[in-house]
């Protein structure tokens, strides 16, 4: 007797049909692959069975059990299409029921925000008058913007292929100085304007130096603002070693996986950590969720601070698609909350 086909999704959002047996094989292969790459334990049989039940369902939507709901930190939330930031955030609060609101600008880089800081401070002040839920300010470190032709430092991505390792590292060091100053300048400015916290979103996108620049800013802001929220959301499952020699309190940043990323973030003073595992578009969403959960699980065991895995577009088992399908996004949310017992998303 042939197994029934179940509609499910690929990592790019395309709907396909797979049998329960095929989904099980995908989930088992993913956890083995994640365990091998990240050198972490694979998921246990109960966890694999639960994941299979979530993904082998034909339901259009799924959700966590009553009482198991978690805090949503909503980086880059809202639509930006409602006319003003204030209306956008009020809608997010009053209609979507978001737990943490985030004010952000479409030029979502600290380097760009620096030039419009008073404008963003005024918006924050206005927003805080009208919103009840906490409002953090978010932007991306984007260290590469500090290299030529966009920035003052030499372009290490041009120097490295030429074999000029020393020149590349010097350029990165120069860029990091500018970057950390900008992160602190914007962070202080927004916290002074009444922000409940700062979000360093997509940290490590330009590698270990991007991460290091951010950690220095986090440490500074934590010392100056002991009650402020500081969220560090990551760009990928492991930190790329572009510089290669950077260490945080004796821990080399290049090559860190989520548990170690979390350890340095919480030591630097972050209050929320967001691991990110990028989607493989050629694999099923079931495969991607199993991979993401396996990679992130060790972080839950060493966390002193809340962990909010990224389940936005193209991360954490959510398809990389402008309109992530509800069936796939809700399954990714439930899978992460149920199995990781995470503190938020």
């Amino acid at each position: 007797m042939t197994e029934a086909k179940i509609p499910t999704r690929m990592g790019d959002g395309f709907m396909v049909e797979m049998t329960r047996g095929e989904l099980r094989a995908d989930i088992e292969n993913a956890t083995r692959e994640a365990a091998r790459k990240a050198k972490v334990p694979p998921l246990g049989q109960d966890e694999l069975d639960h994941l299979l039940d979530i993904y082998a369902s034909r339901a259009a939507f799924t959700a966590v059990d009553i009482g198991d709901q978690v805090v949503l930190s909503c980086d880059g939330g809202g639509s930006k299409m409602t006319g003003t930031d204030l209306l956008d955030l009020l809608e997010s609060e009053q209609r979507l029921g978001q737990d943490i609101l985030e004010l952000w600008h479409i030029e979502y880089s600290y380097k760009a925000i620096k030039t419009i800081l008073p404008f963003q401070q005024q918006v924050m002040q206005n927003v805080q008058m009208m919103c009840t839920a906490p409002v953090q300010y978010g932007a991306q470190p984007n260290l590469a913007f500090y290299s030529k032709p966009d920035g003052p430092a030499e372009n290490w991505f041009e120097l490295l292929p030429r074999g000029d390792i020393a020149g590349a590292r010097a350029a990165i060091d120069e860029a990091m100085e500018h970057a950390t100053k900008d992160f602190i300048y914007v962070g202080e400015g927004m916290l002074d304007a009444g922000a409940d916290g700062m979000d360093f979103d997509t940290t490590g996108g330009a590698g270990d130096a991007d991460f290091f620049s951010t950690l220095r800013a986090v440490e500074h802001l934590r010392a100056k603002y002991p009650d402020a929220g500081i969220e560090v959301g990551m760009a990928g499952e492991f930190v790329i070693g572009v510089h290669g020699e950077l260490e945080w309190e004796g821990r080399r940043l290049a090559g860190l996986w989520p548990a170690e990323q979390l350890a340095v973030c919480q030591d630097a003073g972050a209050t929320i950590f967001g691991p990110a595992v990028n989607i493989r578009t050629g694999k099923s969403c079931a495969w991607n969720a199993a991979y993401s959960i396996t990679v992130c699980k060790p972080a839950m065991e060493v966390a002193r601070i809340p962990v909010h895995p990224n389940v936005g577009e193209g991360v954490g088992g959510v398809p990389v698609n402008g309109y992530p399908p509800e069936d796939a996004a809700s399954r990714a949310a439930k899978a992460h909350v149920d199995i990781l017992k995470c503190d938020g998303l």
Partner: protein, 114 residues
């Protein structure tokens, strides 16, 4: 996607007590269960009530913590937004930056630590 996650796994923001639990995560770095227990203790309710929009609508109204407003559910004369945040800071015993800034700009007396 925001709606999907809010319905699939979110606490519900100020429809429930999601914003209050979030404040303890942000300001104190509390993990989810301790943060929920702390807020439930301050509200005098169960942990399950925190994500129950029926229960929290009553509790928020009684304590003046701000409620969702719509055309059939309006509460003129009840604290919301900044006024509600004054009460939230007091209830949770956690400083809220915008409240402190409002006090300073309005020339109000500084908050006394509990």
């Amino acid at each position: 996607m925001d709606v999907t996650h809010a319905l699939a796994a979110g606490m519900g923001g100020m429809r429930t007590a999601g914003d209050l639990v979030a404040r303890m995560q942000m300001a104190r770095g509390m993990r989810l269960e301790p943060a929920k227990r702390y807020v439930a203790g301050k509200l005098g309710c169960t942990v399950r009530d925190l994500s129950d929009s029926y229960a929290m609508e009553q509790i928020r109204g009684e304590l003046g913590l701000g409620r969702i407003l719509d055309h059939s559910n309006l509460h003129p004369g009840e604290p919301n937004a900044m006024a509600a945040k004054f009460r939230i800071a007091e209830l949770l015993d956690v400083p809220i930056s915008s409240v402190e800034r409002f006090r300073e700009l309005a020339g109000l007396e500084a908050r006394k630590p509990v």
